[in-house]
């Protein structure tokens, strides 16, 4: 089970990113626990400068703009 956090104040890019992550994880058969981090104070703890950000198991893997699909796929490739 991977813990995935989507950091963003709720703009459209953040929602698109969330749907993309959900969709790719499901297609890859990876179980994820998805969390939305919407409070700006909490977002800033991850020290990103642009939203949406994506955090997987505590590591920032993306910030700013909707990630490319193949980038999202790479997050769920390694089995761990």
């Amino acid at each position: 089970m991977k813990n995935v956090k989507i950091l963003g104040t709720g703009c459209r890019n953040c929602q698109t990113t969330r749907h993309l992550v959900e969709e790719v994880a499901q297609a890859k058969g990876v179980a994820i626990e998805l969390e939305k981090v919407e409070k700006i104070e909490d977002i800033m703890r991850y020290r990103i400068m642009a939203t949406p950000g994506v955090v997987i198991d505590g590591v920032v893997v993306h910030s700013g703009g909707i990630p490319e699909r193949n980038k999202v796929e790479s997050w769920f490739d390694l089995k761990n």
Partner: protein
């Protein structure tokens, strides 16, 4: 991807140099004459829509490539510790080329301030980034020509530089929210996009076109459509009485009207262009546009999370005064 590019480029140039023919053919196919109101409106639509969309695609593509050279983290490193003046000039210029979306305004603001970018310099960036954007520039260029687009660019930069300098000189650091002042980020999370090769930069340009043009094309079509109706049906000089250059209150009214409207340059500029054809003054309409884009109520609400009211009020006051001045100067000059 790289191999397809020359073909797209040739097609782009061919289409852009044959806009009049395209519009003529469309009119002929519909059995209309340009002399009639309907014919004129449809001709306007068939000429302007392809022109504006082509320019938008071209400029957004180039901007998408340029932005790959300026990650926010890099811009911040360039600005950290800069003095007022040169710092404001750099911040306003970097605001044009650094990728920015208004929903990221707060993380970016905190990222800048906590890394030692002075408050006034940060504001220069925050004013210029949304106001001088590629959509506004592409549409102004398409509908008004390069002179007006260049004037908009220069005036937008000037407002950002001067307003940021004033806010910096007022030393308003104590009007940041307390939790913001307590944050010391040090380095932000490492950017994962610093090393692009050229095919990735071009891919980024295409992605930028897909995102931006995909989002705004419908507004452009609707905006030009409304513009076409105004163009064909509204009598000449209709706008002179309340948006002409002789009307002193038109500029402040335009600025106030612009604040609650959310930035959608794509839909507004074509309408504005049509209104100017009917006697509205350019300065008044530019002031309206700048106000819509630079002072949007939703963005102010987002900024309220990090700024206390006195700083928000100063920000709005300084920027609005700058826009007013630009409006009057344009009306007077042109």
């Amino acid at each position: 991807m790289l191999r397809g590019l020359p073909i797209v480029l040739i097609f782009w140039v061919l289409a852009y140099t044959h806009l009049t023919e395209l519009a003529d053919i469309s009119i002929a196919l519909l059995h209309l004459e340009r002399a009639s109101a309907l014919g004129e409106a449809i001709y306007f639509f068939c000429y302007e829509v392809p022109k504006v969309l082509l320019l938008l695609i071209g400029i957004v593509f180039v901007m998408g490539i340029i932005q790959t050279f300026f990650a926010p983290e890099r811009t911040r490193a360039l600005l950290a510790g800069r003095r007022l003046g040169i710092g404001n000039l750099m911040a306003a210029s970097l605001g044009i080329v650094t990728p920015f979306c208004s929903c990221s305004a707060v993380p970016l603001f905190i990222g800048f301030v906590s890394a030692g970018v002075p408050l006034g310099v940060t504001f220069s960036f925050l004013i210029s980034a949304p106001m001088v954007n590629e959509i506004a520039l592409a549409l102004l260029f398409g509908l008004f020509g390069w002179k007006v687009a260049a004037l908009y660019l220069v005036m937008g930069l000037l407002i950002a530089i001067v307003a940021g300098s004033i806010i910096g000189a007022l030393r308003m650091e104590q009007h940041l929210e307390d939790w913001v002042r307590a944050i010391h980020l040090g380095d932000a999370a490492a950017p994962d996009n610093t090393n692009f090769n050229w095919s990735q930069r071009i891919a980024a340009g295409i992605k930028h076109v897909r995102e931006i043009v995909g989002r705004v094309w419908l507004y452009v079509v609707i905006g030009v459509g409304l513009g076409a109706i105004i163009h064909g049906y509204v009598p000449e000089d209709f706008m002179v009485t309340f948006m002409g250059r002789e009307v002193w209150w038109a500029v402040p009214a335009a600025v106030i009207l612009g604040v609650p409207m959310y930035s959608n340059a794509a839909g507004i500029i074509p309408i504005v262009e049509a209104l100017i054809g009917k006697g509205a003054a350019l300065g008044t309409t530019l002031a309206f546009m700048m106000s819509v884009i630079a002072l949007s109520a939703p963005e102010l609400l987002i900024l309220r999370k990090v700024l206390k009211w006195p700083l928000i009020a100063t920000f709005v006051g300084v920027v609005a005064s700058g826009i007013l001045l630009v409006g009057y100067v344009f009306n007077w000059l042109l």
